[in-house]
Symmetry: C3
């Protein structure tokens, strides 16, 4: 978590551009809410024009992103607006500035139906989470004490 699924036209980005895109998305989380970088997973899928339709018409210039959030629930309208602004800031250089149309939405899914590397991830802002963030890997911890 979060899982960013990014649907693009074929060849929209080079491998280096994908990496830069994913780094900016990752930073939008790590530099604000401090989750471990390895929580941020980005999946690109290059979609042939005939498979990518908007309003019933094939499109060749559209980036459609759907995201699942798990580790952080955005509980107020203010937090949601703030997060949306952060996401837009991360997106602009990779979509708008490259001349693409774009749309995104985020879903929030239950925190207790999520595991990474077989472990229950530590609570938000816990010492264990801070350690995971610092080491950037999942580390077994005392779930009962966290």
């Amino acid at each position: 978590m979060p899982l960013w699924n990014i649907q693009t036209p074929i060849g929209a980005y080079t491998a280096d551009q994908k990496k830069a895109f994913a780094k900016d998305i990752t930073a939008a989380y790590t530099e604000t809410v401090g989750i471990p970088a390895f929580y941020v997973v980005v999946n690109f899928r290059e979609v042939p024009e005939e498979d990518f339709l908007v309003g019933g018409e094939p499109v060749g210039n559209f980036i459609r992103i759907f995201v699942d959030h798990v580790a952080r629930q955005l509980e107020t309208a203010e937090l949601r607006a703030w997060a949306s602004e952060e996401f837009e800031k991360a997106l602009v250089p990779h979509v708008k500035d490259r001349g693409f149309d774009w749309e995104w939405h985020v879903d929030e899914t239950p925190m207790d139906l999520w595991r990474t590397q077989g472990l229950v991830p530590p609570p938000a802002f816990s010492d264990a989470e801070k350690l995971w963030a610092k080491e950037n890997r999942p580390i077994p911890y005392d779930v009962a004490a966290s």
Copy 2:
């Protein structure tokens, strides 16, 4: 929003058939709840038989659709039943009548974690939304007044 993800066998549809399919899905929204046509995004993915398993067995004749709704929440059981009927009507010519098995489900995601072309989409049934629908494109508007 809505985002229709349609998983099909390899070669299940021609480009023209995909377009006709996406047009019927689009109409199921624009002709009932009046959202802008460009809100309706359809992504096809052709899945090799070995990657598409039902009950643990590879299948070559199955259409599996998962949908995310954002712009309209279906708040009553009656609305949900009605919408489901509309979707089935749109699907029948493209799945049942072509001899495919099929299954679909819809998730509803938070309206305030969604942006298109960098804009907060206007409220349901607002004048701004009607303008977006008429022009079939996102147009900056006065968010505070809407």
Copy 3:
């Protein structure tokens, strides 16, 4: 429902290994909550390394799974913990024991926005559902009486 979307590196599994994986996932449901086997749909997607990024870095050894649940809502923390354990048990031989890193999460979606083969699936644990499970196919039934 459930729909398991499994993102893997290219060539992570043979067709036989995918089938064994999907069979174990299917059994995690059919042998515990008794849903029909055909409810369990598994979609694999082999993702090129440049399209699969964790913390902004391309990865070649990671299995990322996202699941939508429809037919059963896990209503208590105990049920969620129990289900998570069942999923881990099903996953271990296919991910951990093969040396992959892995992460999964589950979303729960509305039961009344779901149809299979044009039918409203029968209520959990109903006689109609038991018949669907026994025959492993959707069978028209008296919705009003169920």
